[in-house]
């Protein structure tokens, strides 16, 4: 019962929020918040519950069902809690924007659709929810107008390509096995040929690869992230994109089954190995492209792609450790990237929409909470110990080293170095350095925006120090895939070559930090001066030159730009232009002259007649 209630609550809440907005905006805000909090409560009350319910048989007599299992619960709780935080954040962020009813409606609808995706027990309801999610996302990406419009089109076209692939896959499964219920498909899959399984894996991988932005299919993401409203960018990067990971888990380990999907092909040219390599490429290239970005959100967006690569590498490697790492990284990534987008959003809110890294700086004092969020966020992103990103990255490195994959391991490390370089720029150009004059009197960050940032920051630390909390339920998920369980304690995880125990690291670090702090306190001699109170060779520095963070990586930029172009995006643009050209020419078949049209008609008739009478084709 509670599952139906959950879904009804999610979808109904979205519609009612819209209606409430017609009455008063205050009522709507409260209602939206209540809805999303209620969803968190309901989902968390369903912990360790495993049920299956049939919604109805209305769709061509196919039973559309919902099922709850460890995997679904894990993703569901992540979805609802992140969306609750985002809704809370939006209450202030979106206050003075137009069409807020619509915004909340779409936000909650996307949330409900994602919930329906992870809870769906059959492929048709999976597809339906997937598509609802896709089109509502499109509607929300376009929300910011202007530059957001092409981004939206790019997103929806790629998304449609993915959906069509998935639809073909689903229907072929239905024709092959005569069922759409996932649990039944699993049983039937044993009878399928290896070729068919490979077909399924590939065709679903296209869909999920597009959604998760695996490298050749990633081009929709940077624009979409950058141009959406910031709270929605957070949802987009945190959970929505990661529905791709959910999909990969579903197709690889649930439907096709681990023992099949990990033995598809031979040697290097096996399915999961190629996927892992794609993941590695996804880590390296976007991370370095991120370094070149001057738009805070675009920078984060490219990191979003790159981090997706870690997850892919983890789950494609296909050991319990790797899987745990991949899944955990999905959660961790969600937490810190939402945090980062929310803090960038806070800056955007305060500076009236500025997010250009070159024109900001020194906001540390003005917006301490946002700075905290940004700092902890990038710590998580890099994977500094004591933050959650460290644990999942550690798991992935460990997997790759244990799995004797030095190149992949090197790629992941390379990605981390790139991350460090680029997020330093991010942190520095936003919060550190000099505060430009025009930002001296920026708006204060409202409380509703601060609370989510604080909560997420704390979560990063909690999961970093106590990784066992989420790893337990991840472990349950891995077991349900048929892998050997990990030995997880609340402080960490042990594997055959070494144990990760965060409490040790925590205490060591605590001591080190305390010592350093004392040293710094004792040795502090610097004095604070105003930013214009500095001179070079006796002359004041021109004002426009004072911000030394402008063009932070200029030499690197000059060196790397030719190699770091997004060739896939260029290729797709070319295809799109060609299609447009072709469309324009096809149209010219309809010349506008009746005599031509009559020739067509007569030609058609004459062709058919002669085909039959002369050659008896039919």
């Amino acid at each position: 019962m509670s599952l139906e209630l959950l879904i009804m609550f999610a979808f109904g809440g979205a519609f009612l929020t819209y209606l409430a907005g017609k009455i008063s905006s205050k009522l709507r805000d409260i209602f939206a918040l209540l809805c999303s909090v209620a969803l968190v409560v309901i989902v968390s009350s369903l912990y360790k519950v495993e049920t299956t319910i049939t919604l109805y048989n209305g769709f061509f007599g196919m039973p559309l069902s919902m099922r709850l299992n460890p995997m679904a619960w894990f993703f569901a709780i992540a979805i609802v809690s992140s969306s609750a935080l985002v809704v809370l954040y939006s209450m202030s962020y979106m206050k003075h924007r137009e069409r807020t009813d619509y915004y909340y409606f779409m936000l909650l609808l996307i949330n409900a659709a994602m919930l329906a995706i992870v809870l769906s027990g059959d492929l048709v309801s999976f597809f339906i929810s997937w598509e609802i999610m896709s089109w509502s996302t499109f509607l929300l990406i376009s929300y910011n107008r202007n530059a957001a419009l092409p981004a939206g089109i790019k997103y929806i076209v790629m998304s449609l390509i993915g959906s069509m692939c998935m639809l073909v896959g689903i229907i072929s499964i239905y024709t092959a096995f005569d069922t759409i219920t996932i649990s039944e498909i699993v049983q039937h899959m044993a009878t399928a040929t290896a070729g068919y399984k490979l077909f399924l894996l590939i065709i679903f991988s296209i869909t999920f690869g597009i959604k998760n932005a695996v490298v050749p299919l990633h081009t929709w993401l940077p624009d979409a992230y950058a141009e959406s409203p910031s709270p929605f960018s957070a949802v987009l990067s945190g959970m929505l994109t990661r529905m791709g990971i959910f999909g990969f888990l579903l197709i690889m380990f649930v439907m096709v089954g681990a023992e099949n999907s990990l033995h598809m092909g031979r040697g290097f040219f096996s399915y999961h190995n190629i996927l892992a390599w794609l993941g590695a490429i996804t880590i390296v290239i976007p991370t370095f492209i991120a370094m070149l970005q001057n738009d805070a959100k675009k920078l984060l967006a490219w990191h979003g792609i790159g981090q997706g690569g870690y997850m892919i590498v983890g789950i494609a490697f296909g050991t319990s450790l790797g899987l745990a790492g991949g899944i955990f990284h999905t959660l961790n990534h969600a937490i810190y990237i939402i945090l980062l987008f929310l803090s960038v959003g806070a800056i955007e809110y305060s500076t009236n929409g500025l997010r250009d890294l070159n024109s900001l700086g020194g906001l540390f004092k003005k917006m301490p909470i946002a700075f905290l969020g940004g700092l902890l966020g990038i710590c998580g992103l890099i994977g500094i110990p004591l933050t959650n990103g460290f644990v999942s990255k550690w798991l992935i490195y460990k997997t790759l080293i244990l799995g004797k994959a030095p190149f992949l391991a090197f790629a992941t490390l390379l990605g981390t170095w790139g991350t460090i370089l680029s997020v330093y720029k991010f942190l520095h150009n936003l919060y550190l350095g000099q505060l430009p004059q025009e930002h001296q009197n920026i708006k204060k960050t409202p409380l509703a925006m601060q609370i989510p940032i604080v909560i997420l920051s704390l979560t990063i630390l909690v999961f970093g120090i106590l990784p066992g909390l989420p790893l337990k339920s991840i472990n349950a998920m891995i077991v349900s895939f048929g892998f050997t369980p990990l030995t997880v304690s609340i402080w960490g995880i042990s594997s055959e070559t070494g144990t990760l125990n965060m409490i040790n690291i925590f205490s060591i670090l605590l001591v080190v930090v305390a010592i350093f702090w004392l040293i710094f306190q004792a040795a502090r001699k610097s004095t604070a001066v105003d930013q214009y109170d500095n001179y070079a060779a006796g002359a004041a520095i021109p004002k426009d030159k004072y911000n030394y963070t402008v063009e932070f990586y200029a030499p690197f930029y000059r060196m790397a730009t030719p190699y770091l172009r997004d060739i896939f995006d260029m290729l797709y643009q070319k295809i799109a232009r060609f299609t447009e050209f072709a469309c324009d020419n096809i149209r010219k078949i309809y010349t506008g002259y009746v005599s031509d049209y009559i020739i067509y008609i007569i030609l058609f008739l004459a062709l058919l007649i002669s085909a039959q009478l002369k050659w008896s084709v039919f």
Binding site: I599, I602, L603, A606, I609, S610, L613
Partner: protein, 228 residues
Amino acid sequence: MRKCIGIILLIIIAWGILTSLQTMPFGVSRAKVANHYINNGKDETGAANIVTSVVINYRAFDTLGEVTVLFLSAIGLGAVLATIKTREKRDTEKASLILSTGCRFLFPPIILFGAYIFIHGHLTPGGGFQGGAIIASAFLLMYLGCHGEKRLNDRCSTFSESLGGLAFVIIGLIGLAVGTHYFLNNFMPLGKFNTLLSAGVIPIIYIAIGFKVGAELSKIIDLLMEES
């Protein structure tokens, strides 16, 4: 070039039609449906004119459709012409006295002839369509010969075309309501063969059609004449 292609294509089509036609022996009765009409038409419908029995009884539904097509073309023409307002007065020469008198003299007999044709539709060749067309040609004569003097009465033509069509449909519906419950059933007594009051509903329908067709065709002429 284009013409050549067109001709070649048309030749291919003609070839197709010819091969089809070769399979039909000319003049030999193969149609069993037609045989049925010839053999049983008299008894089943009571009409002396077999063509009429087919048109108004066996295939009355088609006739209803055709009447509608005619109705449509008049209405459609009216609808299109109503939107184009480019009326310009042209100088027209008045017809000579002899011509106009002759036309006026001929008008009643032609009308009468048309009426005769459709009233006797079930007995002699012709019927509602032909009668209506003849009536319309009488109006045409008036338009040509006595320019602008006598115009079709709009209200009158509307009445006759509407009532004609309605009568057809209502007779059909009465057939559905009474007797054997078939639409357009010949529910009235067939009467004595080969007399004016025979063949059940056929004469009534034919009169309705005659009025309707006459009114519609005249209206089309009226519309076009008025415009020019």
